[in-house]
Every structure is written in structure tokens, then in C-alpha cells.
């Protein structure tokens, strides 16, 4: 979706403002939101791509105003409701619906260390060889899907060179919508800064973007 989250190349967002000696979490509630997302995510009702897509669907003005963990909170509430893990009435009242069944937590303290250390790989075996080879020029498609995609707007309809072939990975555009993993070959594609931003860009600079096969044409 052409959301405000897809912000590569936008102007007017202000200075970077790094904070010296920044704590991992600024407030206790931020830490709780992070951990709640991990723990409820472990129940398995959604996947990482659906999680990203929930935050992308926060209305743009709210998205820009909210702090990072406010967005994680809003996304979690959206997913709880959409997955049926909690109803709107429960989220409003803060109390379980009368007579509702009580689950058993999927993530227990004993499992935390193993869950944190689990790689959670996204590569998948496929029967087809990669369509593109290292060094080959490719052009990205001009697409404007209303759902989730990982082809940023600033790199649509641009020519780049395949730099690496990563193997086949879960395709987020499908997985985020629970339409299956649809694994596809994934490539690191090098775009010159001038191809992306025009003649004023530094001549030798480049942006490398990881792109799935169905985003690309031969160029």
C-alpha cells in the first residue's frame, strides 16, 4: 500500500537527533508492549508480515504522530481483534467476555531463552531455478498494490543490477494477507543513486534493496 510508512526519499521529517546513552526502553510500558507483541505473536495467529502490515494500516496522521511503541500497541490491538483472540468488547472493557474459555499461555518463562535464540528462517526450498543471475540488469515493476508490499515506492520502475542471489524466501505480499508463503527467489539489487534520485546525486553512491523475483523484469 502507498502508505506513509513507505518514506524512503521523503523530505521535511526534520533532523535525526540521536540520543546519547539511550536506554533500551524509555518507559516500562514500552518494554511491556514489546514483550506483549512477542508473547502473543508466539500464539501463532499471525506472522511477521501481518504484524508489519498492521502498523502500516495506522492512519497516516496518527502514524507520524505516534512514538514507535505506540504504533506497536495500535498494531497489536488491531491484530488481536482481527484474529479473534480478543473481541472489541473485551478490548474496550479490559475484561474477558463472561464465560469465555481461558487459554494457556504459549510462551512460558522456561521457553523464553529458546524462543529468543530460535532463528526463525525465512528461506524455503523451491523447484524453480532463479530467473536472474548476478550482474544482470533488471527493472522493477511499477506496481501500486493496496495491500502489503516490500517494493518501496522510490524504487519502482527503476533499473538496477543483481548483486546477490539470496535463495527463495517467504513472499511478504502474500504472507501478510494469510494467502500462503508463496516462496520466491530473493535478490539484492544495486541501484545507482543517480538512477533513483537524478543527476544531482553523488555519482558513485548506490542503494542496495532486497527484492523478490515477481517485482522484477529483465532489463
Amino acid at each position: 500500500m502507498n502508505g506513509v510508512h513507505d518514506m524512503g526519499g521523503m523530505h521535511g521529517m526534520g533532523p535525526i537527533a540521536p540520543e546519547p546513552n539511550e536506554p533500551v526502553f524509555h518507559e516500562r510500558w514500552e518494554a511491556r508492549v514489546y514483550a506483549l507483541n512477542r508473547a502473543v505473536g508466539f500464539v501463532g495467529k499471525w506472522n511477521i508480515d501481518a504484524g508489519r502490515h498492521s502498523r502500516e494500516r495506522i492512519p497516516p496522521a496518527d502514524y507520524l504522530r505516534m512514538s514507535y511503541y505506540e504504533k506497536w500497541l495500535a498494531g497489536l490491538i488491531m491484530l488481536l481483534q482481527e484474529s479473534g483472540l480478543a473481541t472489541e468488547a473485551e478490548l474496550e472493557s479490559g475484561r474477558p467476555a463472561p464465560g469465555s474459555a481461558k487459554a494457556t499461555p504459549a510462551l512460558t518463562t522456561e521457553r523464553v531463552a529458546a524462543v529468543v535464540a530460535a532463528r526463525g528462517s525465512f528461506d524455503r526450498p523451491v523447484n524453480t531455478p532463479p530467473r536472474f543471475a548476478v550482474g544482470q540488469p533488471v527493472r522493477t515493476k511499477k506496481i501500486n498494490p493496496t495491500g502489503h508490499t516490500r517494493l518501496p515506492r522510490y524504487a519502482r520502475g527503476r533499473i538496477g543490477i543483481v548483486d546477490r542471489v539470496h535463495g527463495a524466501h517467504v513472499f511478504p505480499d502474500s504472507n501478510a494477507h494469510f494467502r500462503g508463503e508463496d516462496p520466491q527467489h530473493l535478490y539484492s539489487v544495486r541501484f545507482s543513486a543517480r538512477e533513483l534520485w537524478g543527476e544531482e546525486a553523488a555519482p558513485r553512491d548506490s542503494v542496495y534493496i532486497d527484492l523478490w523475483e515477481s517485482y522484477l523484469y529483465p532489463a
Binding site: D6, V24, Y34, A39, Y68, R95, P105, T109
Partner: protein, 207 residues
């Protein structure tokens, strides 16, 4: 008196995020979906166990051991796991090496992708709109805000983390560190140097 809840039925939980989160956690605990002690353990892990010291040890090892450096660049996920660092958001690692004529910078323009097992959770600026919007179009301006001036003759490579590949910058080993131990070297390596918004400074150099 206008009741805000009349217009926003989804916002009836208290508007203060701390109170809203407390209410949400208590609901999810009562529903049996989360164990609060598991939340404590997760938080403790990322506050105290997993952070940029992990990545610094990887960098220092690569500086002192050329064979390890070769493995790190050729098969980063496995080489990093040799030191005991692996896990979520680190399943598919790529290590990109800085040289005198090439500087690497890592960003996630679409969200906040970051290599957790080696760097921990990202700082606020990395997840912020200014960094996400500007790193790809104005890398030199961004680096200048971090106090880093990159010469026109140096190529900048920006890595936009759009997939599950996670990027770690292998910074240049500073001059004047020839006699230092691996441990002493690791102490010089900062988080920002492994994202690409800083260089590793020599010991005792200007702050």
C-alpha cells in the same frame, strides 16, 4: 461535556499509553494468552543480555583473525553463530565491509528491521521518520549530523533492509591499535559504527 469515547469507541481504554498497556496486559493475562513472568524474562533478555556488545565481539574477532573474517564475509550467519549469537531477526545475516574508499550505511525505510542478535533492539533514531526517509536520498547529510564527513571520492553503499536479510557493517580497524587484544578492540566498537553512522575511533583520540 463532549465524551471523546462517543466518537472513538475503540479508544475507551485510557488514552495514556502506560494505562492502556496495563489494561491490555491484564486482559491478556486473564484470558490466559500471556504469562507476565515470560514478559519479564523477554524484557530482561533485551535489556541485559542481547545488545551491541555482541556485534562488537564479532567485529573484533574479524580484525584479529583473518580466517574468521573470511568466513564472516562468506557465510555471516554461521560465522556469527560460532560466537554464540543467533536468533530472531538474525537468521539471514549479511556483513558489509568498510574500506578507505567504500562506506556502508544500513537502514530500513519501510519499518525498523535491525539485526537483533548482534545489535539488540534499535535506537529511537534508527526507527524514526527522519532517518528512514533521508538515509537513502541524503546519506552524506545524514552522516554529517552524526559528525561524520565522507569524502566525495568515497563510495557510499546504502542497504535498505526490505526483506529478512539483516545487515551488519564491519568497520575499519583504526590505526594505532596494532598491539591491542581482541577484548580491548571490542571495547572500541560502537553500535553506530556497525550501522554505519560512525567510524571506530582510535583509543585516546578526540571524542
Amino acid at each position: 461535556m463532549e465524551d471523546r469515547a462517543d466518537h472513538h469507541p475503540h479508544q475507551e481504554l485510557p488514552s495514556d499509553p502506560a494505562l492502556r498497556v496495563m489494561a491490555l496486559e491484564s486482559l491478556l493475562v486473564e484470558k490466559g494468552l500471556v504469562d507476565p513472568a515470560a514478559l519479564d524474562a523477554l524484557i530482561d533478555t533485551y535489556e541485559h543480555k542481547i545488545g551491541p556488545r555482541n556485534g562488537a565481539r564479532v567485529v573484533a574477532r574479524a580484525w584479529v583473525d583473518p580466517e574468521y573474517k573470511k568466513r564472516l564475509l562468506a557465510d555471516p550467519t554461521v560465522a556469527i553463530a560460532e560466537l554464540g549469537y543467533e536468533g530472531g531477526q538474525g537468521a539471514h545475516m549479511v556483513v558489509v565491509e568498510n574500506t578507505p574508499d567504500r562506506h556502508n550505511l544500513v537502514v530500513c525505510t519501510l519499518c525498523s528491521c535491525y539485526p537483533w542478535p548482534v545489535l539488540g533492539l534499535p535506537p529511537v533514531w534508527y526507527k524514526s521518520s527522519p532517518y528512514r526517509s533521508r538515509a537513502v536520498i541524503d546519506p552524506r547529510g545524514v552522516l554529517r549530523e552524526f559528525g561524520l564527513e565522507i569524502g566525495e571520492d568515497v563510495e557510499i553503499r546504502i542497504w535498505d533492509s526490505t526483506a529478512e536479510m539483516r545487515y551488519l557493517v564491519l568497520p575499519e580497524r583504526p590505526a594505532g591499535t596494532e598491539g591491542m587484544s581482541e577484548e580491548e578492540l571490542a571495547a572500541l566498537v560502537t553500535r553506530d559504527a556497525m550501522i554505519g553512522t560512525a567510524k571506530v575511533k582510535p583509543p585516546g583520540g578526540p571524542a
